[in-house]
């Protein structure tokens, strides 16, 4: 029962993709909520987990490609946090695919919409525990916590 997606978007390349999507006349569901931060590397595991704690069905980290950071921060930092967060989600019994890291060029509205749509589709296709009998992508070991999201 997907309800909402939270996107952490960096103010520069990330936000420009979202604004460009509007300027191009594309649309994405209103269940997508965007939180703007100055740089995606401002986000660490704690903030990602807070989003899941407050009920986000999925979290997208939207930032720049390696080398394009407006502040000159390398993307290895956010990549590390992302991977740590994924492992923790897994440990908590939540399907780690609910968290994705999207690193795309600036002004790419189409790719943003595509990524959002893909994530929502994947999340909605996760069956609830009642019906999950070995149906991928979510193996049976995922706990009930995952189904509450």
């Amino acid at each position: 029962m997907y309800t909402e997606l939270l996107v952490f978007a960096c103010n520069w390349d990330g936000w420009s993709c979202i604004e460009t999507a509007t300027n191009l006349g594309l649309s994405y569901p209103a269940s997508v909520k965007v939180v703007r931060v100055s740089c995606i590397s401002r986000i660490n595991v704690g903030l990602i987990l807070k989003a899941f704690e407050f009920g986000a069905a999925g979290v997208m980290l939207l930032g720049c490609e390696q080398g394009k950071c407006h502040f000159g921060v390398g993307s290895e930092y956010i990549t590390r946090e992302y991977e740590k967060a994924r492992r923790i989600l897994n440990m908590l019994g939540i399907w780690e695919g609910r968290l994705i890291l999207v690193q795309i060029p600036a002004f790419d509205g189409h790719e943003f919409v595509r990524q959002v749509t893909k994530l929502i589709t994947e999340i909605t296709q996760i069956p609830s525990p009642k019906y999950a009998r070995g149906i991928s992508p979510r193996p049976a070991q995922y706990s009930k916590v995952d189904s509450y999201l």
């Binding site: 939270l6 509007t22 300027n23 660490n44 903030l47 502040f71 921060v73 002004f107």
Partner: protein, 1178 residues
């Protein structure tokens, strides 16, 4: 420091051009304190230039150029004039007077928010070429069609007036109503027509359509069937005919009498009623309509239609009195006594001419007016076998066709000339022939013969034209001898012209032409020989047609209005016709639809009754026919855009404007397209007239070259106009003019919750937000939030009026914090890749009215691009999301604390660390601006072709006369300090030389190739190295270095600049690059002070455990050591660019940000997700 003189005009520079170089030059000059007037000939910055960034889609270029354009257009010292060109220049260098011509945009640039609702409603389709391809778009559109632009205001494409519009005697906006019909807007089409003229149902049937005769579509295949569309609008408007008034009922008390209720009289009455009068029509017949009732047969103009039209006029309040003949039942003098002050005579021409041949008085010879009257008002059966009508006008044809329908077995028309010369409508003639009427051309009757007083034959004669030209331009006629013949006729209808019955009026001194019996009037004012008495229609022109009579009525009513107001009757009338749109017929691409055929009743049915012959176009046919229009004038002035724009930003009355500006120096940046002569071979500047510099573009100028050129030109210009004086305006002044949005002032009250009084303002954005998001629901849901005192919607937040509206509520409700839900996303002093000119204006006005005077804390949330515009098809979802977005703004503003203020002033001195002649030009340039320059060099050897090199002896402190202090290369060097206040410590053996500097220019290559300890201490690990390591953090050779990019976006000012050079550059290019660098340095030094930005982090050393993770991610962070051996992290707040990456790494929470703190992010996340019903303490 010099002081600003009072007349700003003389200190300014005028820049003409729309290229990147021009815009960069403008911005650099403005940042150096020079006032700039930037004139672009285009509607938007960057448009039209060949190296326009918006043609060049490279993403990096967009990232740099977009903030550049925004900064330029919103800088307080730059005045941007779009669509502006230079007409002429007078004066000399230092005191030029420029005549500027500005072409109309038809839209107020400062009001349009780019919401696009006008574009949706625009009826006219226009084709343009975009990037080599043809694109069809609305006539009102964004300047760059598919791209965003600065300014973002829309433009309207116009091309003069459509020929149909100009041809219409009534001035109906023909292209306008047709474009509305092409979109299916029938009611609006009729309303548009009725702005100009009434009686659409009648005109749509009987008008002689001069519009169609001038229709450009006729040159392609066949003209648009405009009259049929006019009829379609009249017959199918769902709300019927509703005339609009221009002045309220009874606002004018003067009495006006109109004689005759024909088209002229009715139209005059209509117009006068709309102007507020209450005219009275006196009609001698029992029916209203004049010729419309008595002359035009019912199968062309049915009675119901006529009555419908007249009823709509009486509903307007026009008083028509039938059965009163002026001159007989009431006299002219009687009316004057009764208080009628103005008169309009529209008695038409109803007296039939006689042919003056023997036999005219026989029984069975009737005049056509009586015949038509009888047939129109009663049903009569003709017993005739042979009806002959004499004449070639509409009266004759109408009489003949009426005779056919009344049972006549044979109907013939005798006309004395050829078919081509027949004055009757060709369509009526053709229909008549189909109905069985025979026409004898070149035939005149000689004698009407009869038997026992009753006509039975006519003797006729063939004629041919003579050489002689008679008055009126036609040839004379002579009978052809030997061609007499006889026609059988039991009824003869005489239809050879009518004259007005003017003498019946019995008005003394009324001038009447003797030959035609028509009333003489002034052709411009329609006034007769008697003041206050006007005349128009057939009684002035002789038999004419409905539309001309109506036009006369309109013009006469204007005259009457002026006469009664005592205004000049001639001023402003009779002007030259407006410019008619010219189109290239060959280039027109149209759908191959043929002209719609007007459906008619089948033949047998129509000749047996007086039912209307034509049945009107179907909806589909009408729409298709309307789409055949070529939109000659592009914008059709249908006024739909004006109707939907809530910002009132559209004004079709915009016109070409002329004004003057003064300037000291003029810089021209022609774009590549305009280059015509051989000067394309030069780059750089070339002077033609002293003080006017033309900067030639170069075809292969890439982004960097253009930017460098712009900055170099700006720098040289700045030197020119203020030599040897560093005359900048204090940033304090700028603060007062309100461009800086900084949270560096203390909050007046405490930060405890109960003292936070938050006002939430919701911007309608002219309906584009409020039509999707339901503000009532939003307000209801937000009213429960703690701290929110006041919620209100405002029309438009990005204007001065909007800011003042918010300000006015501050005092009333004692608000100290404001959340504005509109389009602006952040409250920081930055311009990011997504910003827009509206957001910049919002910031400017809120600074001016809210933040600076009242020290209000403002939080912005974007509910436009992030909510209303992207979720248009889900208004409920958008409303829910808007509630969350705004409540997250409220939660953030409750947690906003302010940075501690740290202002340091900047030393006006520069140290250049380099060794080659490359730095010399920068050194000289900066020295000429009055800064102290210390040039640390290795010792330069004179080289043959470099004129700028000198031989310097290696002794310390050698001064040359240009104020550049040459400092020898040290053994070791360290740089300490903070931006604007650096200190270089140079070691020579055991001597230390301390050189203070505001800015540092470093030649990295020179510095890093030295194997001495200079490298380690000064560069890697040292301050310079740390700051410059952020410069290029990737392996790509990017055009614009990151640090320069950050200068434009977040105004990063570290004060350390890189002297880049590569051997491939020519000397001239190198000079340009150094001048550009000098411009950047100069701009930096011109700041009044350096202060930390609102997002700068704070590292609490007591919490810091010295792990160094933050220093890993940010080179600006230094690890320092305490006496006890522990380490702690520390950052110079003046350097911190506020990304927050260090905060994410810090394990102890020692690093915090006053804006974008962890608490704020968490509460934002909480507000955004569905579990949040209210704000929760986090």
């Amino acid at each position: 420091m010099g002081t600003r003189t009072d007349s700003r005009v003389s200190e300014s520079v005028a820049i003409i051009g729309s290229s990147i170089a021009a815009i960069q030059a403008a911005l650099t000059l403005a940042q150096m304190g020079v006032q700039v007037n930037l004139l672009t000939g285009t509607a938007a910055l960057g448009q039209g230039a060949n190296t326009s960034p918006l043609v060049n889609k490279c993403s990096l270029n967009q990232r740099f150029l977009w903030p550049l354009f925004l900064q330029a257009s919103s800088h307080p010292l730059i005045t941007l004039y779009t669509n502006a060109e230079i007409e002429s220049i007078q004066g000399t260098k230092g005191d030029f007077n420029i005549q500027v011509i500005k072409y109309p945009r038809y839209i107020h640039e400062d009001l349009c928010t780019g919401c696009g609702r006008c574009q949706v409603e625009c009826s006219a389709k226009v084709t343009s070429v975009l990037g080599g391809q043809k694109v069809t778009h609305a006539a009102i559109h964004t300047p760059l069609l598919e791209e965003r632009s600065v300014p973002s205001a829309y433009v309207i494409d116009k091309n003069g007036f459509a020929p149909c519009h100009v041809a219409c005697p009534l001035g109906i906006n023909v292209q306008g109503f047709i474009s509305l019909l092409s979109n299916g807007k029938i009611d609006r089409a009729l309303a548009l027509i009725n702005e100009a003229a009434p009686l659409s149902g009648i005109l749509g049937r009987v008008c002689t359509h001069p519009c169609e005769d001038n229709c450009n579509r006729g040159k392609v295949d066949s003209a648009v069937s405009i009259r049929a569309l006019h009829r379609y609008a009249a017959d199918n408007a769902s709300r019927g005919i509703k005339y609009s008034r221009r002045y309220p009922v009874g606002s004018r008390k003067e009495k006006i009498a109109i004689v005759g209720s024909g088209p002229a009289g009715l139209t005059a009455a209509w117009e006068l009623t709309r102007l507020g009068y209450s005219p009275t029509i006196f009609e001698s017949h029992g029916v209203i309509g004049g010729m419309l009732a008595t002359g035009i047969p019912r199968f062309r103009l049915p009675r119901e239609i006529r009555e419908r039209e007249i009823e709509s006029l009486t509903e307007l309040g026009i008083d028509i009195r039938t059965g009163i003949t002026v001159g007989r039942d009431v006299t002219f003098s009687y009316l004057k006594e009764r208080g009628y002050r103005a008169f309009f005579l529209s008695i038409g021409a109803e007296l039939n001419n006689k042919i003056d041949i023997p036999g005219e008085e026989l029984d069975g010879v009737v005049d056509c007016m009586s015949l038509l009257l009888t047939l129109n008002l009663k049903v009569v059966t003709f017993a005739g076998q042979n009806v002959v009508a004499i004449g070639g006008g509409n009266a004759a044809i109408d009489a003949a066709r009426s005779a056919v329908r009344s049972g006549a077995r044979g109907v013939t028309i005798l006309y004395r000339r050829t078919q081509a010369e027949m004055p009757a409508n060709i369509e009526e003639v053709r229909e008549g022939i189909k109905e069985g009427i025979k026409i004898e051309y070149n035939t005149v009757p000689v004698e009407i013969m009869g038997d026992a007083g009753r006509v039975n034959r006519i003797r006729c004669q063939q004629t041919r034209p003579t050489e002689e030209i008679m008055e009126g331009g036609a040839h004379g006629l002579e009978p052809i001898p030997g061609t007499e013949f006889l026609i059988e006729a039991d009824h003869v209808v005489v239809a050879v012209g009518q004259i007005p019955n003017a003498s019946q009026l019995k008005i003394e001194n009324l001038a009447i032409s003797p030959g035609t019996s028509t009333i003489q009037v002034n052709p411009l004012t329609f006034e007769t020989s008697i003041p206050g008495v006007f005349a128009g229609g057939d009684c002035v022109t002789g038999p004419n047609n409905v539309v001309e009579a109506m036009a006369a009525g309109l013009k006469a009513s204007d005259s009457i209005n002026r006469y009664l107001l005592g205004q000049d009757m001639v001023a402003g009338r009779g002007l030259e016709p407006p410019k008619i749109a010219e189109i290239d017929i060959g280039a027109v691409e149209v759908l191959p639809y043929e002209r719609a055929r007007m459906p008619v009743i089948w033949l047998k049915k129509r000749i047996s009754s007086f039912e209307e012959t034509t049945t009107g176009l179907s909806a589909r046919a009408a729409q298709r026919e309307a789409q055949r229009c070529l939109n000659c004038a592009l914008c059709s002035q249908c006024m739909e855009c004006t109707r939907v724009c809530e910002m009132n930003a559209v004004f079709h009355d915009d016109s070409v404007k002329h004004f003057e500006i003064g300037s000291k120096v003029i810089l021209k940046f022609p774009s590549v397209d305009l280059k015509s002569d051989a000067s394309a071979a030069n780059h750089g500047k070339e002077d033609t007239v002293d003080g006017i510099h033309v900067v030639s573009p170069n075809g292969n100028d890439d982004l960097t070259r253009q930017v460098v050129k712009g900055m170099a030109v700006a720098f040289k210009t700045a030197i020119e106009i203020k030599p040897n004086e560093v005359e900048g305006i204090q940033e304090q002044e700028l603060l007062e003019t309100g461009i800086v949005l900084k949270h560096d002032h203390p909050i007046p009250e405490e930060t405890e919750d109960k003292c936070q009084r938050i006002g939430v303002f919701l911007c309608r954005c002219g309906g584009s937000i409020s039509s999707v998001i339901d503000f009532r629901t939003v307000a209801r849901k937000l009213s429960g939030l703690p701290g929110v005192i006041y919620i209100r919607e405002i029309a438009q937040a990005c204007t001065e009026a909007g800011a003042r509206e918010i300000e006015s509520q501050l005092a009333e409700w004692q608000l100290n914090r404001v959340v504005l839900a509109a389009c602006r996303c952040c409250n920081l002093d930055q311009v990011c890749y997504s910003c827009t000119d509206r957001r910049m204006m919002c910031q400017k006005y809120l600074n001016q009215y809210l933040i600076l005077p009242h020290k209000t804390i403002v939080e912005f949330v974007n509910i436009r691009e992030q909510c209303a515009w992207v979720h248009k098809d889900d208004p409920q979802g958008a409303t829910r999301k808007a509630v969350k977005i705004i409540s997250s703004g409220v939660s953030r503003i409750r947690l906003t604390t302010l940075a501690t203020h740290q202002n340091t002033s900047i030393l006006h001195s520069v140290i250049i660390i380099g060794g080659k002649p490359t730095g010399i030009n920068a050194a000289k340039a900066l020295a000429s601006q009055g800064y102290r320059v210390n040039y640390v060099s290795r010792g330069i050897v004179k080289q043959g072709n470099h004129e700028h090199s000198e031989v310097i002896p290696p002794t310390p402190g050698h001064l040359n006369e240009e104020e550049v202090t040459i400092v020898p290369w040290p053994d070791a060097m360290e740089l300490h300090g903070t931006p604007g206040n650096y200190e270089a410590v140079l070691k020579y053996g055991s001597l230390f030389k301390r050189v203070p500097a505001g800015a540092v220019l470093v030649d990295i290559q020179e510095l890093t190739k030295d194997p001495s300890p200079l490298v380690t201490t000064a560069y890697s690990g040292g301050l310079i190295g740390r700051i410059l390591s952020r410069r290029n953090n990737s392996d790509d050779i990017t055009d614009i270095a990151n640090d320069f990019l950050r200068e434009v976006t977040i105004k990063e000012a570290s004060g350390i600049f890189v002297l880049a050079h590569d051997g491939d550059k020519s000397l001239q290019e190198q000079v340009l690059h150094e001048l550009a660098l000098a411009a950047r340095v100069s701009t930096f030094l011109e700041k009044a002070s350096i202060s930390s930005r609102a997002t700068a982090v704070n590292i609490d050393s007591k919490l810091c455990r010295g792990c160094g993770d933050c220093a890993d991610v940010c080179p600006y962070i230094e690890m320092k050591g305490r006496e006890d051996g522990t380490a702690y992290a520390s950052v110079d707040k003046a350097l911190c660019i506020g990304c927050g990456a260090c905060i994410a790494r810090c394990p102890t929470g020692a690093i915090t940000q006053p804006i974008q703190s962890d608490k704020q992010i968490i509460s934002t996340v909480h507000s955004m997700l569905h579990t949040s019903k209210k704000l929760v303490e986090v």
